[in-house]
Amino acid sequence: MSTATVSPSAAPTADGQSPVLAVRDLCLSFGAIRVARDISFDLARGERLALIGPNGAGKTTLINLLTGVLKPDSGSATLGGRDLLALKPHQRVRAGLGRTYQITSLFRAMTVFENIFVAVSERMGASTMLWRPAWSRTDVCAEVERILEIVSLSDVASEPISDLPYGRQRLVELGLALALEPKVLLLDEPAAGIPHREAEVVQRTVDQLPDDIAIILVEHDMDLVFRFAREILVLVEGAVLRRGTPDEIAADPEVKRIYLGTSE
C-alpha cells in the first residue's frame, strides 16, 4: 500500500482487505484547465491519508468529485464495492461518504445541538417524524450529546452558531461529518483560518476520531500532516505525483522541489 501502484479493479467483495474507497482514472476539465488528471488511488478501512499539494492543485476539486458536487468527465469510483458515481449526492452520504467544508457551511440561526440533531436524525430516520417533539426523541438526542462530547462542544450546546467563535464553528463542522457515521470521511482543511489555540482542539479531535473510519485529510500545515497521516498523497496540477509514508514523502526530492520547497 505504500506505493503509487493500484490494483486494476476494485474488488467488490466485502472482506476486510478490499479497499473501502477505490478511485480510478478520474478526469475533469474546466474548459482548457485540467483540474483532475487520471486520479487513481485506494483507501483501506481505517486509513489515515493526508492529501497535500500547492494551492489550486485540485484537492477540493477531488473532494467535490467524490461527493457529487462536480461530475467527472471520465473515470470511476466505488465505495464499499458500490458504484459511487451512479449515486446522487445525498445517496453517497447515506452510503457512508462524509465531508467537511473548507469554508464553514452550517445552520447559522440554529443551536449547536440542533445542527448536530439535523444530521443524526437524518441518519436515524427520525427527520420525517412530524407528530412528536424533537426533544422527546431521546435516542437521537443521546447520540447528539455523544458527538458533542467527542468534539468538545457540550458546554455550548444551546448556543446559536452565529454566537460561536469561528474556531468552534469548525468543530461543529467536524461534528456534523461525524454524525453521519461515515465509512470514509473527507476533511477539507479543518483547521484553516482559526487561531492556534483553537486549531489545537481541532487537531486533537481529528487525532481521536474513531479508528474504523477511513479519513482523507486535506491540509497545508505540515506538522499536522506528519502527526496525522500514515500515508500521504501528493497532488500537483490535478495529477497524483506520489503516494507514500510520511518519511518517504519527506525524503522525495521531487516533492521537496515542487511542494515542500515552495512552502518552506
Binding site: H90, L106, T111, F113, A134
Partner: protein
C-alpha cells in the same frame, strides 16, 4: 443523558409558551360576545391568519419563496363550492378536508415544476401557476361562475345542528375552531424532528443535501402540507360566505397574505396572528380615512417593519419579553 426538559432548552424556541394559547383563544371568545355585529370582520381576520400560517409554514420555516399561495387556497375555495353545487356534498367538515386535500395535491403537482429552480424561479413559477388558474376560471365561466361567482352554494348545518347564519355567528365559531385545529397541528409539526429539518432547509439546503437529506422531495412534502392549510383557508372562506368567485386566484390575495406574514414575523406561527390583526385593523382605519391612499400607509408600515423590526412585530414582542425575563431564546 439529560432529561427531556433540559433537552428542550437545547432547541430554539420557535413558538411562544403553551399558556399563550389561553389568552389568544379567550380573546376570540370575548370578541364573539362583545362584537356580535362585527363577526364578519372577525371571520376575515381568522381566514387571513390561516392563509398567512400556510405561507409562514413554507416560507418562514422552510425558506420556500411563494407569491402564488392563491393558487392553492383558490383551488380549495373552488372545491368547497363545487362539492355542494355539482356533487350534492354539502357536509362542511368533510368538505373542508377535501378542500385541504385539493390544495395539497395542487401544491405537490405544481411544486414538481416550481421547486426545481433557485429562489427566484420558485417565486416566478408560483406567480405563474396562480395566473394560469385565474385565466382558467375566467375561460370556464359556466363552471366557475367567473367574476359573478358560483351560484347555489348551500352548506349543511355543522354537526347537523348549527346553520350558517347571516350574522356570521356559526361562521365565526366554526372558523375559530378550524384555526385552533390548524394552529395546534402546525405547532406540533414545527417542534418535531421534521420541524428542525425544515429549519435546516431554510438555513442551508446545500448542506442538508450533504447530510443525506433528499432536499427536493422534502420541500415537496412541506409545500404540500402548506397547500393543505391554504386549501383549508380557501374552503373555509367559501363555506362561511357560501360564495366563491375567480377573485380567489387574484394576485393580491397572495400578496396580502405574504405582507401579513412579513409584518407579523416570518418563522413564528404567532407572526401570522399578529400580522393579520394589524393588517385588518390598519385597513379598517386607513381605508375609512382615505381609501385611495391606504396602500401608501401599508407601504409605510412595511418600510418601518423592515427598518426597525427585522423579523416582524413578533420579534419586538420577543425582545420585550426577554427584557422582563419571560421568554427563552428567540428564533432567527
Amino acid at each position: 443523558m439529560a432529561e427531556p426538559n433540559t433537552l428542550r432548552g437545547r432547541f430554539t424556541q420557535v413558538e411562544g409558551p403553551l399558556w399563550l394559547l389561553v389568552p389568544i383563544y379567550l380573546a376570540a371568545v370575548a370578541y364573539f360576545y362583545l362584537m356580535g355585529n362585527q363577526l364578519h370582520l372577525g371571520m376575515a381576520v381568522v381566514n387571513m391568519i390561516i392563509l398567512a400560517l400556510s405561507i409562514d409554514f413554507i416560507l418562514g420555516f422552510a425558506g420556500i419563496n411563494s407569491l402564488g399561495q392563491a393558487a392553492l387556497s383558490g383551488a380549495g375555495a373552488y372545491m368547497a363550492g363545487f362539492l355542494p353545487v355539482y356533487f350534492g356534498w354539502a357536509e362542511p367538515i368533510t368538505g373542508l378536508l377535501v378542500a385541504g386535500l385539493v390544495g395539497a395535491v395542487m401544491a405537490y403537482v405544481t411544486g414538481i415544476i416550481a421547486l426545481r429552480g433557485g429562489e427566484l424561479t420558485v417565486l416566478a413559477m408560483t406567480i405563474i401557476v396562480a395566473a394560469i388558474l385565474y385565466e382558467f376560471a375566467n375561460s370556464y365561466q359556466d363552471i366557475t361562475g367567473g367574476f359573478d361567482g358560483l351560484r347555489g352554494i348551500d352548506i349543511d348545518r355543522v354537526f347537523g345542528l348549527f346553520k350558517f347564519d347571516l350574522w356570521g355567528r356559526t361562521g365565526f365559531v366554526y372558523s375559530v375552531c378550524v384555526l385552533f385545529v390548524v394552529h395546534i397541528a402546525l405547532r406540533v409539526i414545527v417542534n418535531s424532528p421534521f420541524g428542525v429539518m425544515m429549519r435546516g432547509l431554510r438555513e442551508n439546503p446545500v448542506r442538508m443535501r450533504a447530510l443525506g437529506t433528499p432536499v427536493f422531495h422534502r420541500l415537496l412534502i412541506i409545500y404540500a402540507i402548506g397547500g393543505f392549510v391554504a386549501g383549508i383557508a380557501g374552503g373555509l372562506q367559501t363555506q362561511t360566505h357560501e360564495f366563491v368567485s375567480m377573485e380567489v386566484f387574484a394576485f393580491h390575495v397572495s400578496a396580502t397574505a405574504l405582507t401579513v406574514v412579513i409584518i407579523g414575523g416570518l418563522g413564528r406561527l404567532y407572526g401570522a396572528f399578529i400580522g393579520a390583526v394589524i393588517y385588518v385593523v390598519f385597513q379598517d382605519v386607513f381605508a375609512k380615512m382615505a381609501p385611495q391612499y391606504w396602500y401608501f400607509w401599508l407601504g409605510l408600515l412595511l418600510v418601518l417593519v423592515a427598518l426597525f423590526a427585522h423579523g416582524g412585530v413578533v420579534s419586538l414582542i420577543d425582545k420585550a419579553a426577554a427584557r422582563i425575563g419571560l421568554a427563552g431564546r428567540r428564533a432567527r
